[in-house]
C-alpha cells in the first residue's frame, strides 16, 4: 500500500439529465450537478472547501462557488488534456484531502457539448494558438487531420494492420455499450440497443472508424464529492474508497497525435497509469469485477484492455469475442452504457457509475463488486482510478 490507498472516498455523486440540448447555460449545469452531488452526500455548500475541474471546463471554480454559495475555498485545481483529466480530478481531490489541504472537494464537469461547441467538429482555433500546442497541431490540422475521430483512426489502422483486428472487433465494444445503455433509463440510448450488423452498416466517419465507433455528443454535467474515508463513513451512502489514483504521460507524448513513437499499437501513457494503479491498490486485473473504460472511440478500448493487463498485446479482439465485456462476462464493461450509450460527459459519468457499482445501487449491477477500475481519455495524457468497497 502507498499513501493514497484508503485515505479518501467518493461520498456523493450528482448529475443533470443527459441530453442533446440542455436549454440552459453551462454554469447552470455545473451548479445543478454540484448541488445534486452534495445532496447525495448529505452535505451542504458550506461544507465544501475545494473544487476541481478540467482546464477545458468553461465554468471557473469561483463562478461555481458563487452559484452554490460556497463561502471559502482553500483548494482549487484544474487538470489539462481534455478527457484525460477525468480521473485526475479525483486524484487531485484525494491528495488534497489526504494532506489536509481541504476536507470536502467537489470535482465537476459540465458542458453543452452537443448544443454548443462540439468537439467532433474541426476546431480551427486550436491549431492556430501561439503556444506549443498550436505548433504541435500544425503538423496535423493543416494536412487535413483535424478531428478526434480521424486522429484515433490513424492509430486504429495501424493496430488492425499489425494484429489483424477488424471493424467488427471494434463494433463489439459499441454493441456491448449500447446493450447496457438499453436498460439504463438515464442513458440517451435507453431502449435502443444495436447489433453488430447495425454497426457494420453505419457510415464511415474516418476510415477505419464508422459512425457507431464514435461516442455521442452530449449536454450535461456530473459532479463527485470527495472527502476523507473517515468522514465518508458517517455520510448516508457506503463510501467508494479511492484505492488508487494515477496520471500518466508516455515518452514522446503528443495530444491525440503521438505518431512518432516506435510503435503505434499501444497507449504507453495508459501503461504508466496501469502500473501505478496496480501498485497503489495492491491488486491486479484479476481482482477487478467491473471496468469503466473510456470509450470515446471503440478501438482504444481494445488497446486499453491490453495496456491494463486484461489480455496480452494484440489479443483484445479474442477477449471481446468471448463475451468478456458483457454483463455476466469476465469483465463487464461500462454497465451504464458508456459514452457510446449513456452520454459523453468527458469520462465523469463513468466515475459516477463506478461509485454506484461499489455501492451496489447501479441499474445494471454486477454481483460481488470489490474493486472497480476507471480510466480517462485515451490518446491523450490520461488518468485512472481504482475504487473499492469499504472494509
Amino acid at each position: 500500500m502507498t499513501g493514497i490507498n484508503g485515505a479518501a472516498a467518493i461520498a456523493g455523486i450528482g448529475a443533470t439529465e443527459f441530453s442533446k440540448d440542455s436549454g440552459r447555460s453551462e454554469l447552470r449545469l455545473a451548479a445543478e450537478c454540484v448541488r445534486a452531488a452534495l445532496a447525495d452526500a448529505g452535505l451542504t455548500p458550506s461544507d465544501v472547501d475545494g473544487l476541481v475541474t478540467f482546464t477545458m471546463d468553461t465554468n471557473t471554480e469561483v463562478a461555481v462557488a458563487r452559484e452554490l454559495g460556497i463561502p471559502e475555498l482553500s483548494f482549487f485545481s484544474r487538470i489539462h488534456y481534455g478527457g484525460g483529466a477525468a480521473c485526475a480530478t479525483v486524484q487531485q481531490a484525494a491528495m488534497a484531502v489526504a494532506t489536509g489541504m481541504a476536507e470536502v472537494v467537489v470535482c465537476y464537469r459540465a458542458f453543452n457539448e452537443r448544443s454548443g461547441q462540439r468537439f467532433g467538429r474541426v476546431q480551427t482555433a486550436v491549431a492556430q494558438q501561439p503556444t506549443s500546442s498550436g505548433v504541435d497541431n500544425g503538423w496535423h490540422y493543416p494536412m487535413g487531420l483535424g478531428t478526434p475521430a480521424a486522429m484515433v483512426a490513424m492509430f486504429a489502422r495501424r493496430y488492425m494492420h499489425t494484429y489483424g483486428a477488424t471493424s467488427e472487433d471494434f463494433g463489439r465494444v459499441a454493441v456491448a455499450d449500447r446493450r447496457h445503455a438499453a436498460t439504463n433509463p438515464h442513458a440517451w440510448f435507453y431502449g435502443r440497443p444495436i447489433t453488430l450488423a447495425d454497426h457494420q452498416a453505419s457510415r464511415w466517419i474516418a476510415e477505419p472508424l464508422r459512425l457507431l465507433d464514435c461516442c455521442q455528443e452530449s449536454d450535461g454535467g456530473v459532479a463527485l464529492v470527495v472527502t476523507s474515508a473517515e468522514r465518508a463513513r458517517d455520510l448516508p451512502h457506503p463510501p467508494a474508497l479511492v484505492r488508487a489514483a494515477a496520471q500518466g504521460s508516455g515518452a514522446d507524448q503528443f495530444v491525440m497525435t503521438s505518431y512518432y513513437r516506435d510503435d503505434l499499437t499501444g497507449l504507453p501513457e495508459m501503461g504508466v497509469v496501469a502500473r501505478q494503479l496496480w501498485a497503489q491498490a495492491g491488486i491486479g486485473p484479476d481482482d477487478v469485477q467491473v471496468g469503466l473504460l473510456y470509450d470515446h472511440f471503440t478501438p482504444f478500448v481494445l488497446v486499453q484492455l491490453e495496456e491494463l493487463g486484461f489480455c496480452p498485446r494484440g489479443e483484445a479482439r479474442h477477449f471481446l469475442a468471448d463475451g468478456a465485456i458483457e454483463l455476466g462476462g469476465r469483465l463487464p464493461l461500462n454497465p451504464h452504457g458508456g459514452q457510446l450509450g449513456e452520454a459523453y460527459i468527458h469520462g465523469m459519468n463513468g466515475i459516477a457509475e463506478a461509485v454506484r457499482q461499489v455501492r451496489g445501487s447501479a441499474v445494471n449491477q454486477v454481483d460481488g463488486v470489490e474493486h472497480v477500475l476507471v480510466t480517462a481519455g485515451t490518446g491523450v495524457p490520461t488518468s485512472g482510478l481504482v475504487l473499492g468497497r469499504d472494509g
Partner: protein
C-alpha cells in the same frame, strides 16, 4: 519567376488530350425542376423586375403566354447546393487537378458566354453535361504563368439543348514578384474566383462551373515558431527538411528547440530524399474539413531516413491505399507564407 519545364508542358497537354477525348460528361440532373420560388429569389437578388418572370396575369398577356424563367438562371438549376457532390467524370475538375499538381494552383475566371436556345418554364427538369474544349498554355500573364482552360456545357430538357455556355478560366502559378495580389485581382470581377480569396468552396460555386479546386486558402495554416520556421521555409522551396541535431546528429520530426538525446540547442537539418512508405492512413469522410473535399486520405509516412511525416495523400483512390505503399513527397502552396507537404504514389519511371 520560375518557368515551366518542357516535361510538365507535355504532361499537361497529354492530360488535356485525354480529358477532351472523353467527350461529354454524363448528364447531371438538376436537384429540382424549374420552380417559381427559386426564380423569385433570383430576380430579387439580381434586381430584375420584369413581371414576365413573376406575375402570372402579366405573363399570360406576353409573347410567352405564361410564366418563364430568366434564361440566365440556366446554371442555377444544376448547382450542387451547399455540399456539392462532384461527378467523377467532370472534365473541368479533372483538368484543374492536373494543373494543381503541376503547381498552377490559383484560378481566375475570364470568360462566361451563354447561348439561350429557348426560355424554360416552371416544371421543366434540366440536366447538364460538360466537355473540355481546349487547354492553351503556358501563357505569361500579369497574374503569373498559366493555362487557359475552356469548357463547354450544355443544358438539356430531354434531348433538346436549351442553353449552352462557354466557360474559360486562367489556371496559374501565382507570380511571387508581382505586386498584384491574386485576391485583389479576383475581387475586380464578379465572376472571378481565386484560391487566395477567403471564400469557401460553396461560394465559388456561384461563379465557376462546378467548383474547381477547393480554395487552399481555407486550409488551416500551421503556427510557425522559431523552432519550426526552417521546415516551412523548406516546403516553400520544394524541400522536405528534417531536423538534425548539430551536436549528436540525431534526426527528429516534428522538430523542437532542444535535442532530447544530448540536450544541444544547435539544430540543423537535412533535406530528405522525399520517398517513403505509408505507415498508417485515414480516409476522412466526415465532418467537412476546411479547404478539402471529402473523402480524402491523410497518410503517416515513414521515411528511410528514420522519421515519420504526416500529409495528405493525393492522386490515389482511397480504396487503393495500403500500409506499406511507396509514396513520394509533393508540395501544395497555400499562400505566400505556407506550403504544405503532401504525398502521392511513386510514379513509374520517376
Amino acid at each position: 519567376m520560375t518557368s515551366t519545364a518542357p516535361s510538365t508542358t507535355d504532361a499537361i497537354n497529354a492530360a488535356a488530350r485525354r480529358i477532351a477525348a472523353a467527350g461529354e460528361s454524363a448528364p447531371r440532373p438538376a436537384r429540382d425542376p424549374v420552380n417559381q420560388p427559386m426564380v423569385n429569389n433570383w430576380v430579387e437578388a439580381i434586381g430584375d423586375r420584369n413581371p414576365v418572370y413573376t406575375d402570372p396575369e402579366f405573363a399570360e398577356t406576353s409573347v410567352h403566354g405564361g410564366i418563364v424563367a430568366p434564361p440566365a438562371m440556366a446554371q442555377v438549376w444544376t448547382m450542387g447546393g451547399l455540399h456539392p457532390q462532384r461527378a467523377p467524370d467532370d472534365p473541368l475538375h479533372g483538368m484543374m487537378a492536373e494543373l494543381d499538381a503541376a503547381g498552377f494552383t490559383s484560378v481566375v475566371a475570364t470568360n462566361s458566354e451563354q447561348t439561350y436556345h429557348r426560355y424554360l418554364r416552371p416544371g421543366e427538369h434540366v440536366s447538364v453535361t460538360t466537355r473540355l474544349e481546349s487547354v492553351v498554355g503556358p501563357k505569361r500573364t500579369r497574374l503569373g504563368e498559366g493555362w487557359f482552360v475552356t469548357t463547354r456545357s450544355t443544358w438539356y430538357v430531354g434531348d433538346e439543348a436549351v442553353t449552352e455556355m462557354l466557360f474559360r478560366v486562367l489556371k496559374f502559378r501565382p507570380s511571387t514578384a508581382s505586386t498584384v495580389s491574386t485576391s485583389a485581382s479576383a475581387g475586380e470581377s464578379a465572376s472571378a474566383v481565386s484560391t487566395s480569396a477567403s471564400a469557401g468552396g460553396s461560394t465559388s460555386e456561384a461563379s465557376t462551373l462546378d467548383n474547381p479546386a477547393p480554395p487552399r486558402a481555407a486550409v488551416i495554416k500551421p503556427v510557425r515558431s522559431r523552432d519550426t520556421a526552417f521546415f516551412w521555409d523548406g516546403t516553400a522551396a520544394g524541400e522536405l527538411r528534417i531536423q538534425r541535431c548539430g551536436a549528436c546528429g540525431r534526426l527528429r520530426h516534428p522538430p523542437g528547440p532542444m535535442c532530447p538525446a544530448c540536450g544541444s540547442t544547435s539544430p540543423e537539418y537535412l533535406v530528405a530524399a522525399g520517398r517513403g512508405e505509408v505507415y498508417s492512413y485515414v480516409v476522412h469522410h466526415h465532418p467537412p474539413m476546411p479547404g478539402r473535399e471529402t473523402p480524402f486520405v491523410v497518410a503517416l509516412v515513414e521515411l528511410p531516413e528514420g522519421v515519420r511525416v504526416l500529409g495528405e495523400l493525393l492522386d490515389v483512390p482511397p480504396d487503393d491505399v495500403r500500409v506499406g505503399m511507396p509514396v513520394e513527397v509533393t508540395f501544395l502552396p497555400v499562400d505566400d507564407d505556407i506550403t504544405l507537404p503532401a504525398w502521392r504514389p511513386v510514379r513509374e519511371g520517376s
